[in-house]
Structure formats: C-alpha cells, structure tokens
Symmetry: C2
Subunit: 297 residues, 2 copies
C-alpha cells in the first residue's frame, strides 16, 4: 500500500477510467492496471468494478482513508518545508466567503503596510480547500466560518489537526425572500424551518450538514445544491424562492430582495476561526499575533 498506488487509486476513481487516470498521472495504462492489481492483491479484496469503473464496497472504505492519507503526507512535507522558510515575503490567506470581516481585513491591510515588499494575497474558496491550502503550504493562514453551538469548535476535516482560534462571532441568520410570509419577524426558531425547502450551498454559505449537527435534527432536506463561493448568486436564488440558506447576520443584511432573520433557538452562532500552521514563519506570525484574542492567564 504505497502512496503512489493510493494516488493512482483515487485518480482512477475520480476519472472513472484506467486510461484517463494513466494520462492524468503520466503513466501508461498498463502501469495503472498493475497498480490496482497490486493493491487488490495486497488487501485481498476487489476494489473496483470494471466497465464501468466504480469503487466496490472495499474500494469505498479505502477511499475514505486514501484521500486524507495523501493529504497528510503532503501536510508533513509542507510542515518540514516551512522550517526552511522558503517564502519570507509572502502572506497568503485562504478564506471562505462568510469569514472575511472588516476587522480581519483591516489587520491584513495593517500587516501589508507595516512590512514593505510583502506580497499579500487572499483566495476565496470552500472550506475543504481552505484547510487543505494551509496543510499543504499553499496558504499561510485560513479563515473558515461555520455554524455551531456557542461552546463548540468548528468541525474540520480529519486529515490532520490544525491549531485554530476564533476571530469573530455573530448571530446566525436565515435568508428568506423579502416577500416570504415570515420575512417580517424579528427572530425565528430553526425548528420551525426544518421542513422548509433549503438550498445546500456548502462553499458559499453554511453547509446544511452543519445546521443538522448544530440543531441535532434530521431535517433540512435540500432540493437544490449550489456550487461556488459567490453569495450574491446564491441570494438571487433565495430571492426567487428556490429555497432558504443561513449566513452570518451582518453579511446577509444588505442583500437585495432578501430578509435576514436572526435565529434564536437552538443556541447557534456563526463563528469564523483562523487556522494556522504549527510553526508559522515571519510575516504570518505577526498577523497571527495581531488577530489572536488577548487572554489574561
């Protein structure tokens, strides 16, 4: 079970084809076939149905481990590369759409001003991608938001642990069309909306899975999945009555055609946390300190 073979396996699953995976990885199709055969022999279980190519039950189990394993291998490599301090003048921030608040943006601007020749960058992306970016060293910091119970940390992918601390917390709000019968209410209870029509926009707003977990409910079925990080486009769908979503109250207040109603029950907050590598290097460490909540101990 060497990483090369695992990488081949996930690539084959992604492409649903041996030959396409061969092309993607720069091998011959023969090599791919041999990799899979070796894995199957090693694990003494068929991993793929052929024609069409799809993972078997055993293949599904392996996939659940293979992706995090490969990610963590990259994370290990990145952790060590960071010790060599290869990009002294860089500050790359990966960020989910709901996570960038004025306060943190200001801190970034100050860091940029304080350090001349600092090349700062912000990349807006989904949760998994942001975490992955910090793990693999593509980004130096990540701002990730989500909806959780007040005392809980944000749920993060299981590939490797990553230190984090909260940078802001706002009420969670439901986004309704302005014409919705409930749009005038001052506040809403989430339970009253469990049976509504929802849009799952995991990279633009709060993933429904987090709502279910925080509300400890099996509701929130969705008819529509929205892919992308643009909350404006999402709001158009909501305004048109395609379904509801949740977001931080301040971020949702001024969307056209949308009523943002705070949720009072259960106690859920919209929190954004800053994720950082174990051993941050120079310009990153300063921003980190500026954003870290001061605590008296």
């Amino acid at each position: 079970m060497d990483p090369q073979q695992l990488r081949t396996f996930v690539t084959v699953v992604d492409h649903r084809s041996f030959s396409a995976a061969a092309q993607a990885l720069g091998y011959t199709q023969s090599a791919i076939s041999q990799h899979i055969a070796a894995l199957e022999a090693d694990l003494a279980a068929p991993l793929l149905f052929r024609r069409p190519v799809a993972p078997t039950e055993a293949g599904e189990r392996l996939l659940e481990h293979a992706r995090p394993l490969l990610l963590r291998l990259d994370a290990a490599r990145a952790d060590i590369a960071r010790l060599r301090q290869e990009r002294p003048g860089r500050l790359a921030l990966a960020c989910t759409p709901g996570a960038l608040t004025p306060a943190t943006a200001l801190a970034l601007v100050r860091a940029r001003t304080a350090t001349p020749r600092l090349v700062a960058s912000v990349r807006m992306c989904g949760r998994a991608e942001a975490v992955q970016a910090v793990l693999t060293g593509t980004a130096d910091l990540a701002l990730v938001d989500g909806a959780v119970a007040p005392s809980d940390p944000l749920p993060l992918p299981d590939a490797a642990p990553l230190p984090a601390f909260p940078v802001s917390e706002e009420p969670l709000a439901v986004l309704l069309p302005a014409t919705h019968p409930l749009a005038g209410r001052p506040a809403l209870r989430l339970a009253d909306l469990a049976a509504a029509r929802w849009i799952d926009a995991p990279d633009a707003a709060v993933p429904l899975a987090q709502l279910r977990a925080a509300a400890q409910s099996d509701g929130f079925g969705h008819q529509l999945t929205y892919t992308g990080t643009d909350i404006r486009g999402l709001s158009v769908l909501v305004a048109a009555g395609a379904g509801l979503t949740t977001a931080a109250l301040p971020a949702a207040k001024d969307l056209p055609g949308i009523a943002a109603i705070p949720i009072t029950e259960p106690r859920i907050v919209h929190r954004t946390e800053l994720l950082h590598p174990r051993t941050p290097t120079s310009p990153t460490a300063e921003l980190l300190d500026a954003l870290r909540p001061k605590q008296s101990h």
Copy 2:
C-alpha cells in the same frame, strides 16, 4: 516518503539507534541508514542528529505526522479486512479503567449468553491503545472514558475518525486522602484545587490534560506521573498524600482511605463513550445495538 521508510524513521527514533532499529525491523543496519538518507534527501532536511541519535526540529515535525499516518494505513487495511468477516465468533472489547460500568458489563454477559460459541474478551488499557485497537481491528469495540463539558464529545486521537456514542455519564469526583482538610465537604469547585498537587495518571484515571481543557485553565501542574491502568495502586498514592486525581464518582466512592468529592464547578461530567468500526460485523453489531441509546426521531 513511502510508509516503509516512515516506519523505519519512527523505529529509529524509538530505539534512539540505527542498529537497534535494524534488528527490530529485520533489516541490516545498512538498509536503515539508506532509508533515513533517502528520507532526508527527499525532504531536503536533516531529520536526525547522529551520535547520539535524536530527532531534529524537522524530525519532530515528521514524527507528528508519521505515527498517525502509519496508524491510519493499518486502519484502512483493517476496515477492508473487516468486510471479509474473518472472525465471526469473536467479540473483543478494549476498555479504559473508568469506562466499564455494571450496565455495559451486563450487556456483554447477555450477548455472551445469547450467542453460543462466542469468544468474548475484555482488555483493559489506556485511551490511545484502546482507540488504536479498534482502528487496527485488534478489538471490535472500545469503551473510553474522560472528563468533558456536558455537551462536548470526548477528545480522541487524530489518526482517523471513529463513530462513537455515549453509554453513561456520571458526576466527576476529586479523589482526596480521607484525612484531607477538604475531605468532609459535600462538593468542591475545581478552581479551588488548581494549585493543589496533582498526580497525572492518564491511563488509570482522567488525564490532567483533559481537566485543563475542560476547565479552560493552565493550572493542574503535576509532580508525579502514574503509568498503568490500575486504579487501586493509584488510590494508595492518593491516600498517602502524593497528590490528587479525578475519576467517576461511583467508581471512586469505595476506595479505601479515599474521599471522593463531586465537582460542581465548572460543569464537567465524566462520560464514557463506545467507539466502534464503521461497519461492525455480526456479534459486534448486536452488542452495539443493545447499548445504543434509543432515540425517537
């Protein structure tokens, strides 16, 4: 960075010697030297000081990833092996000392009675070992206890996620010598004890790290570390005034020479959770169902 090399690396660190690692792994010393050289070339960083052998900074970073990676590789293998249902008549339970309550023990006895020819086993061990046993298939289920805030799940190692649910929850108690000035109190606040002398017995009682996390405090410094899973031996130390520990109130009540005082502040409970593989097989699944809390949904 193939797993074989990583395994060599952690073995070398554990043995603090190339030659000893070679012996342990069944290689020649030459092969070990080449493994480490290959890793260092691949990562472009020295991983070990030689003579005496000790990890460098980069080596430390690698270690943090290497052990969980190797564990998860084993977990993947075990997950797939389980699908082949290799041990139909086995039920192996790994268990931390504070986790085995009469109710769960009874359920185990009933399962044993219900299925003739069932080979049941219980192994008492530390937290990390119990989790590892389920991950690698050495055990079918694990009962793990700990002290946390009432709504939080138990903290578990980061190698791979493992489904879990609570099976029992009791008040957390401090163990004091019966002669201690506070021994007569009906209840205590943890903050009043932060400066006391503590024994860290991570495998026999509640690890101090969990107390610190649950109390959000930096206190609870320890002078004495207790290795082992025997709570009786630990209680002798407490009775002799070596320091304090915490445990579940019912389990601690009848220890000789010990006063077990419940903790009221902060709100911390002693909970035990049942960890199980994603796809439990026959005799395991039944016990799992018997212990799973019934919920109306």
